[in-house]
Amino acid sequence: MTHAASMNEVPSGPELPGNPGTYADPESSGEPGRQRILARETTSSRAGAAVVAAILVIAVCGYALLETAVRAVGQPPWLIDPQTAADQVTALPAGVPPVLLGTVGAILLAAGVGFVLAAILPGRRARHILADPRAAVVVDDEVIASALARRARLAANVTQEQVMVVVSRREVQVNVRPTSGVPLSTGDLQAAVEAELRDMAPEPMPAVRVNMASSGVIGA
């Protein structure tokens, strides 16, 4: 209630364009709108699956439309008359080799499972959220990985090819192949990567795991 009261005390006089005090707009830059943008941008929109499904339905319906329209005006069919097609479908296991029938069925089954899973699964994208006072910021995991790889490479003093970083939602895996004869400390490396990750503060915060390869690289 105090919040509402304080809101009412703000004078609602004419706004001057360019005055920094008046362009604060609670709805546009506030938390709810940003949370919604972030929620949408870290999950898949399934536009690809939708386009594929719609095009398939359009193709099947378009062909059926052609044959039905031809039939409706009493013309000879293009490929197959709908009535003959229905007769063949009702007689189904007969008339078609069972291997072909089973294969077509299995393909349709697999495609159906794929679409159903695309619809049901949460569809998270490989992205993390960064905190920012002004904008909604989303980073691809690949970008985080390359930044962490650079930091690990500098901390371990090895070449780019000796470090590989894999970032997933909850874990960062740092794989390092040390240079042969140059000792490397896993703890130092872990601390360096963790410090970089703390500065970055992605959400959700992943845990760091350093894998030191047992064999070194010669002449790097």
């Binding site: 920094p20 939708a50 359009i58 439309l65 189904l92 299995a106 499972v113 970055m200």
Partner: protein
């Protein structure tokens, strides 16, 4: 941030998937299990007979064809139109205007600022940076309000939080110029250009 109807996508994709699943399962069972084949032949030919007697009784007077065919044609057209409408919903929401409102000043009128202002200003500000492989800025309608979508592709090894802070500072400067805080979405992504381009070594 675009207007793709996500819930509708999930529902329709789910229905389509279930249909494919049912047909596929039926075909596999027909091919593999003789009992299912016998049941299918009995059930489907009965259903087909019912449809056929129905079409006999709905003949167009004076013609040999049933009007059920015309109903079928209309139904198929309706489905196709619905699918095209669904396709048109994907990724929609591009907008041309960033700000449009009454400025409540002494001069009567309406202020409109095109999205191109913000897009070109930000693109120009980001263009010369050596740590970026590419940047695109677009205006989208987000829940009825225009918002900016900034996509930057840093080169390999660039720290995303520093880049985000710098882009965010640019946006704050833009806010001061435009006089409105619009919703802003910054996507720091990777593409072919950042993946295969050279790493940024000096920073």
């Amino acid at each position: 941030m675009n207007g793709t109807p996500r819930v509708l996508n999930r529902i329709l994709i789910g229905i389509f998937g279930l249909l494919l699943l049912a047909v596929g399962l039926l075909l596999v069972l027909l091919a593999a299990v003789p009992a299912v084949a016998a049941w299918w032949q009995g059930w489907s030919s009965e259903a087909w007979d019912r449809v056929r007697t129905g079409s006999e009784s709905t003949r167009i007077p004076g013609q040999s064809e049933s009007w059920l065919w015309i109903v079928m044609v209309l139904l198929l057209i309706a489905v196709i139109v619905a699918m095209v409408a669904w396709l048109a919903q994907q990724g929609k929401g591009r907008s041309n205007i960033l700000v449009a409102e009454d400025d409540a000043g002494e001069v009567p009128g309406y202020v409109r600022i095109g999205g191109g202002v913000a897009e070109q200003a930000l693109r120009a500000a980001l263009a010369g940076r050596p740590d970026l492989a590419g940047a695109t800025v677009a205006t989208y309608d987000f829940r009825g309000r225009p918002g900016l979508r900034i996509r930057v592709q840093p080169r390999q090894g660039v720290a995303p939080h520093l880049l985000a802070a710098e882009v965010s500072a640019l946006v704050e400067a833009l806010d001061a110029v435009i006089g409105r805080r619009t919703p802003v979405f910054i996507h720091i992504g990777s593409g072919a250009r950042s993946r295969f381009g050279r790493a940024e070594r000096v920073r």
